[in-house]
Symmetry: C2
Subunit: 371 residues, 2 copies
């Protein structure tokens, strides 16, 4: 009993994108941004794909956000002119590439330390450039960023001394939302994300420093923090696809997941075990980066209750299933991955389908370089 979406025209494993669901996801977020009067600056790291960035722009995105210069370069090459590198750029090669990019497009970068600011200032002044930057505030993730409040103010005051830098505002990413165990924890983290910026901006204002940009991120929190008065930019990335993590968090339903991995059953060694041709080199090994994971395995097998992807080797997925299930060698399964972003990073091609047929192949443009 082959599923209706078994896509006989493509080999497996392949990464599939349901175009209708993708468009709906993009439109919903654009509509949220419009309704709340905030800039929508989608994070490209989720898809790394020119075609999707173009759709985001057509549907109202105000610029793009990237994690890497590779992504910025790929998007600048096709005409995107307002890019935020939501990352601390450190090292001579990166500064050279950044300055080269500023010849063509507007690039804003993050700062969270004096040494990085100093190097950025030196590079900018050596070319008579002024680089717009945001201070990264740590709203609880415990990764990069300065604590909100006084430490952020101190960094802001220091930045004013460095020529070639123009402080434009504050940014935070509440990635610890991915560890939220329920809706009220998520609400708390989302409100904390906004509050970290608003309280810091108030302190800066007292010191005479403006914060034109107050930018928050993350697909799970953005509808909470982005709805807080005063916040004026949101940077969700994953929302274009959604995935099993967003489903586990209650942020999306299974039917809101646009990306899946099409895979073939290659073996059924025992009645309660099948092996599929998608392993860690296709599905990635994410079980929740920033906290306790509630994820039942390495992805959700669509339309097959009780199937659990128990283990992944590089090219094998080991799946437990009810022994009475009629699945056999050669059948195809569709898997919603735990985390769509690294899955995209593992393939060159997204197979785009509409009405159960593949209608396009999109190249994952900004993938390949690790930098």
């Amino acid at each position: 009993m082959p599923a209706i979406d078994s896509f006989p025209e493509v080999d497996t494993p392949s990464v599939m994108v349901d175009k209708d669901v993708l468009l709906t996801n993009i439109e919903k977020m654009s509509s949220f941004a419009r309704n709340h009067g905030v800039h929508l600056r989608p994070h490209v790291k989720a898809h790394k794909t020119v075609e999707i960035a173009k759709i985001q722009r057509e549907m109202g995105a105000n610029g793009l956000c990237v994690a890497k210069l590779d992504e910025a370069e790929a998007m600048a090459a096709v005409g995107f002119s307002d890019i935020l590198v939501a990352y601390e750029l450190v090292g001579q090669q990166k500064l050279e590439r950044l300055l080269y990019l500023t010849e063509k497009v507007s690039i804003t970068v993050l700062v969270d330390s004096i040494p990085a600011a100093k190097a950025l200032s030196q590079a900018a002044t050596s070319r008579s450039k002024v680089i717009p930057c945001l201070i990264e505030v740590d709203s609880g993730l415990g990764r990069t960023g300065v604590p909100p409040g006084k430490p952020a103010l101190e960094l802001a005051l220091s930045l004013l001394k460095y020529p070639g830098l123009k402080l434009k505002g504050l940014l935070t990413h509440a990635g610890h939302a991915y560890a939220a165990r329920n809706r009220s924890e998520l609400e708390l983290i989302g409100r904390g994300e906004a509050e970290a910026l608003l309280s810091t901006a108030a302190l800066l204002r007292q010191a005479g420093i403006g914060s034109a940009v107050l930018s928050v991120g993350s697909t799970p929190t953005v509808r909470i923090s982005g709805a807080v008065t005063g916040i004026n930019e949101i940077r969700p990335g994953n929302y274009v696809f959604n995935d099993a993590t967003q489903v586990a968090l209650g942020v999306a339903r299974r039917e809101d997941c646009a990306l899946s991995v099409l895979t073939t059953v290659i073996s059924r060694p025992t009645p309660d075990r099948i092996v599929i041709d998608a392993g860690g080199k296709t599905l990635a090994l994410d079980r929740g980066a920033h906290g306790i994971s509630q994820l039942p395995g390495y992805g959700l097998v669509k339309n097959h209750q009780g199937f659990v992807i128990e283990r992944l080797s590089e090219e094998h997925g080991i799946v437990s299933l009810p022994p009475e299930s009629p699945v056999t060698v050669g059948d195809r399964l569709e898997v919603i991955p735990n985390h769509a972003c690294p899955v995209v990073n593992l393939t060159d091609t997204l197979y785009v389908h509409e009405n159960h047929r593949v209608v396009n192949q999109w190249r994952v443009t900004a993938r390949g370089g690790v930098r």
Copy 2:
């Protein structure tokens, strides 16, 4: 205090290969194979790189092993003519690609089920081809493969009925060795790997079925199972690089690790935490695929005692360190990844160095397609 191997000529994160260590690793395994009179058929999935496969051949490899047709196609394109696809090939596209490849090179495939054998037989006979195949025996990993002994014999007897297939022998992969907690467990698993094939071959012999090939694999077990009389082929892959997993298993020392990730410290938000520009999209998230992991974090930071890579987001590595450590923003660190194979699969380029200088860039040829 920049390290001697900070490679100012390359941007970070980059995947580095120490050529001397690579050559030594390859020569040691070739020498083991020569001394024990076994065929060495290295597994390409570890490196996916034409240049490394060529070195393996020059140093005495007898053919190659691959996990995917993508890898087989890339290696066939540069003249490798004896390739084992150590994978059950299922699906019409795969069989078409396989038959196309057999026009140019000798390809052997795995079989572990009747449905797969039947489809393979039909495809082969439709083109008047005979496909050499090996029965995959499960020596304890619990992935693909039939149990040793009677079930394998039953499959062998069935295969004889299918035209277009030529049964050449038996294969197993004791990947569960990666869960071994000590040397004696590893010895036990290695001997079990050989025994699963030898006992099955004896049973087949009684039924008048020969097993010309008895093939074992895995870098941790191969010096145990490959030394057992009667085993005549070994398929290690990871040994070219080694990694933190092999170090944890006692199979390699840190100085035997040829592959590392060069990374830059981008932030030191607190005295006991730095953030590096290598995350899960560079280092991969492996903590041990087939069992309990003894790995202290997501990789070993070279020359820095007490540094632990605690968490990875997509592009950030969060590292705890002794608060008194003088490391600062802009410093470069070298990380031995937990698992070298998926790291190679995440980059297009390996930077090859000799005497602390980059001497070459090798393209990761067979990477990019998920198939």
